[in-house]
Amino acid sequence: MSGGNGNGSVRVGVFICHCGGNIADVVDVEAAAQAAARMPGVAFSSTHMFCCSDPGQAMIVQAIRDHGLNRVVVAACSPSLHEATFRRAAAHAGLNPFLCLHANIREQVSWVVRDRAQATRKAVRLIRAAVARSAHLAPLERRRLPIRPSVLVIGGGVAGLTAARDLASRGIEVTLIESSPFLGGRLAQLYRIYPTGQFARDVLNRLIREVAGHPKVKIYTNAQLWSSEGFIGDFRTTVRLIPRGVTEEPADLQAVLDACPEEAVDQFNLGLAKRKAIYRPYDGCYPPLPAIDWRTCTRCGACVEAAGGRGIQLDQEPEQIEIRSGAIVLAVGLDTYPLRHGEYGYGKFPEVITLAQLNRLLDPTGPTGGRVEIRGRPVRRVGFLHCVGSLQRKGVHPPMRDGRINEYCSRVCCTTTMHTAAELKSRFPELQVYDFHEHIRTYGRKHENYYDRVCEQGVVFIRFDPARPPRVESDPKGEWPLVVRTVDRLTSGEELEVPLDLLVLATGLVARDMKRLIDLYRCSVGPDRFLLEVHPKLRPVELASSGLFLAGSVQGPMDIAEATAAAAAAASKAAALVCAGSIELDPYVARVDETRCSGCRICLQACPFGAIARREETRQAVVNEALCMGCGTCAALCPCNAIQQCGFDDRQIGAELEALLAPEPELAAVSSQEAFDGKAQGR
């Protein structure tokens, strides 16, 4: 069959995918192929079990060659999955890849329409529209954009540091920005880490040494994301540098700290201690210089005086710098679940603390010098409560501030709990330890060892009912500071009352407040509020906006090893991008028809990418193709219809719409023999 639409020799091939059963279970693909065969311009149509597989692609290539096809329509899954695959196949057969179109009959049909006849009709309609549009397609060429050989890493925790280290060791210029005055993020606050039992500080210090000493890395602390322009290959990020206040190590730091009259809650020690307005979170931190917390400082000058007038400046102004980079790695990490006052007794009883706080207590350099005590009282009976702020249920747990509950598992708390309980038991064997849980999820390599160990150490396990979570109260007999009341499902729902003098809440992990970041880079966010990768298996460390990569727990809860692996994977993608030196972009740019442009400048003002300029001589609009992102805003706004967008011009879209809205063509019943022939042709 040849094309009868005035376009002379249009020969469309239509390829319909079964997608295993994803499509074919609902859509009668053979009937659709028969219907397609009768559409104007269609010279060949066929189906395949998996068009995207090698044999499927080979079939397409073969058909293009055998039947002299010059347009291809693939009816399959969403183009976001496999448009590139089929375009490559078309190119392989010598066809311009932009003469290949995708009709989405999976996400838009088989996954959402249940009735077979209706689904088949809808699929045919979408195919018809694509066929109609394909007749008007013209070959297009991709643009090449240069890529700056540098990467901006946002976040100075373990993931950001790892990504920076890896990129720099491949010879790539890296700028790392950290919003707080010190590097290290959460890792700095941990004591020992599983599954190696290393001291967190040692791991961190080594990493910082590798990064901070590297000639390719530039680090800015106290650096806040301000604004961002540009795009993949040339991001221009403006960062506001908050002055540190301290420019030189004071000769007698202790005297300076003592002199400061202002105290604040020590966030680094998670509220377990106080610190001064001029402070250093711990000895050996990086950068080693103390910093001033401007929210607490009153600029009284006492520290300046104590330092002998040297090295402290209270009048520095914030500074703005622009960082240009070819790619950006987002590694801003996560937060712990914000407990409400009184939640499981937290805030009400000093004997209720979080797992993170316990880590600070266990640290010999921490606020108690490594003693586990509450208000100076040693501890004899400790309980761990799992899933605080995780695995929440509607009706049982009150929602968070945004109205949502945290249904997800925070992944790291079970093993952290087992690991910490084992540490406690081996340091204080006489301690009695109770573990309140719903499930124990020590899933990772060597994680189960901790679970086994605490079982041997005599930790008592109590399995609560998630619909009736444990309650924390003061001991009515007054013997112990706390009692936990719960049912134990391991003893057929017996009601238990467990007196304790310390309850450790294994608080879950939540996404940080990343509003600014999300706005600046138009990040996708999942229902769990973490940043959302393009696809968990196809592109697990990439964001939908090109050139942006995800490293570590900004994407969801992860432990150190997992965050490190994710950061290295992100570095690998970013390195591949910037090492290539240039990137090919889709050719969907706007084009100005000079015979029509009146020079009204509406498009100039509307273009969000600053890609349109005015030609001085003619006063007409001209598009900078390197900057044009193909959003189509100008084409829609132009009052003279002088702008068309390649790949989406009026004729193409018009034809598509007409075919889409045309009256229902009948779906003639097809004999199975015909259908079989259609399929066999393709092999």
Partner: protein, 443 residues
């Protein structure tokens, strides 16, 4: 098929999802890569899976394009049906001794037309379908195989020449010999993946003896639309089961069989299969007997809750023993933990043993990198270098370093590629310096 070079920047051993991704990520950074797979097709476990948790999109749709990409990448060469006999360090690089097994088909000439397969009269239970489907004695491994080349199975071939007679390219070669190759590589990435604990590992469950006690991988094939049956059925009589039981940890967290660790994916694949059984056969009940439900990954707990909402039952219990009834049904003797350890006998008509994951390859004495006591590759600095083996220059990814799901395997593969790239940079700098030094000293 590309000609194999004498020297590569990276050799990736294992062509599952982790190996393919590592090869792609290394080649993506400009390095030349050899991908070695011991089966006749790349794709690993994933290419045989039906749908994948937690998104339930089809496994093939994600895996086959990766296979095609790896096979067609200009900087990746592929060697399938090839065993690695030795990896040793030789001044500054690694030397791999490889054994290319005979397909009895001349690869360069074969056009993959499949005529030989059609002509062959000998049916053999198909490994890809865990014995439920059939293949011929000469066969293309499966519809999505890459390369699409047949392989002749000499154990079952009757050498009647039927295939050779119909081959249009005359490329059946009954006398083909194994071929030994030696290849040098700057770095090595090992991604040799998993196999499942044997069905017979726990005798009291009757795996391997009772027809209706099956492997979860067979369940994947039965549920696949391109599988041998197209739907779930009892192997004993082909009937659609009405009551399916999953025995969790039937090969994990169990010291008695030497697998004390958690296999990490079994809770999720069991829930996934259970949801799909319920969707296809709403009248069929599915019960998981579990110790803990470990739905820890992104979106996994939500997936667990979805399973509950779709009517999948989960029971915290230990399964002590399974016995077979004359009609093929199975009686599970279980200790119901949430009922104070009450023991009950519960009848089901199909049982899936959630087998654990163990390493597919334990190359002691073959590869210098050390294995850990769990049999997987040791990762000495897992917190900071999660893809580094005990030998500088040998990297590891995927299930080769312990059970994990596909997203985690893919991410780790990216990390392994990054480490290999950094290592290659480092050795080339050292080489350049040494060359400069020797020039200076020669002057």
């Amino acid at each position: 098929m590309a000609k194999i070079q004498a020297h590569y920047d990276g050799a990736v051993i294992g062509g599952g999802i982790a190996g393919m991704q590592a090869a792609l990520d290394l080649a993506g950074q400009g390095f030349r890569v050899l991908l070695v797979e011991r089966e006749p097709s790349i794709g690993g476990i994933m290419v045989g899976l039906n749908k994948v948790f937690p998104t339930l999109d089809c496994s093939s749709c994600i895996c086959t394009p990766r296979m095609a990409e790896a096979a067609h990448h200009e900087r990746i060469d592929l060697l399938t049906y090839t065993e690695v006999e030795e990896v040793r360090r030789t001044d500054g690089h690694f030397t791999l001794r490889l054994l290319k097994k005979p397909r009895y088909v001349v690869e360069e000439d074969c056009i993959g037309c499949g005529k030989c397969e059609q002509a062959c009269d000998w049916f053999v239970p198909h490994e890809f379908d865990y014995g439920l489907g059939a293949r011929k004695a000469i066969y293309i491994p499966h519809g999505n195989a890459i390369p699409q080349l047949p392989v002749l199975d000499p154990e079952h071939c009757m050498f009647d020449g039927a295939c050779a007679r119909v081959c249009p390219k005359n490329c059946i070669d009954f006398l083909q010999q194994p071929e030994r190759l030696e290849v040098k590589a700057g770095s090595v990435i090992i991604a040799t993946g998993l196999k499942l604990t044997p069905m017979e590992a726990k005798k009291e469950y009757g795996g391997g003896r009772y027809a209706n006690v099956i492997s979860p991988l067979l369940m994947e094939r039965m549920q696949s639309s391109n599988g041998p049956t197209g739907h779930v059925m009892r192997p004993s009589d082909g009937r659609i089961p009405r009551s399916v039981a999953y025995v969790q940890c039937a090969g994990s967290r169990d010291r008695t069989i030497g697998v004390p660790y958690c296999s990490r994916v079994c809770c999720m694949y069991a829930l996934k299969q259970a949801i799909l059984i319920r969707q296809h056969h709403p009248g069929t009940e599915v019960t998981l007997y579990y110790m803990d439900i470990r739905a820890f990954g992104k979106g996994y707990e939500q997936f667990f809750r979805r399973a509950l909402a779709e009517g999948v039952r989960v029971v915290k219990a230990k399964v002590g023993r399974i016995t077979e009834e004359p009609d093929g049904d199975l009686v599970l003797r279980v200790e119901l933990i949430d009922e104070g350890g009450r023991v009950a006998e519960i009848r089901h008509d199909l049982v899936v043993l959630s087998q654990g994951l163990i390493p597919a390859w334990r190359p002691v004495g073959i590869v210098p990198a050390r294995l850990d006591e769990d049999g997987f590759f040791e990762v000495p600095e897992v917190t900071t270098r999660p893809a580094n083996s005990s030998v500088d220059g040998i990297f590891v990814a995927g299930v080769a370093t312990g059970p994990k799901d596909i997203p985690d395997s893919i991410v780790e593969a990216g990390a392994a590629a990054m480490e290999a790239a950094m290592y290659l940079d480092r050795i080339s700098r050292v080489e350049a310096e040494e060359a400069a030094m020797s020039e200076v000293s020669n002057d």
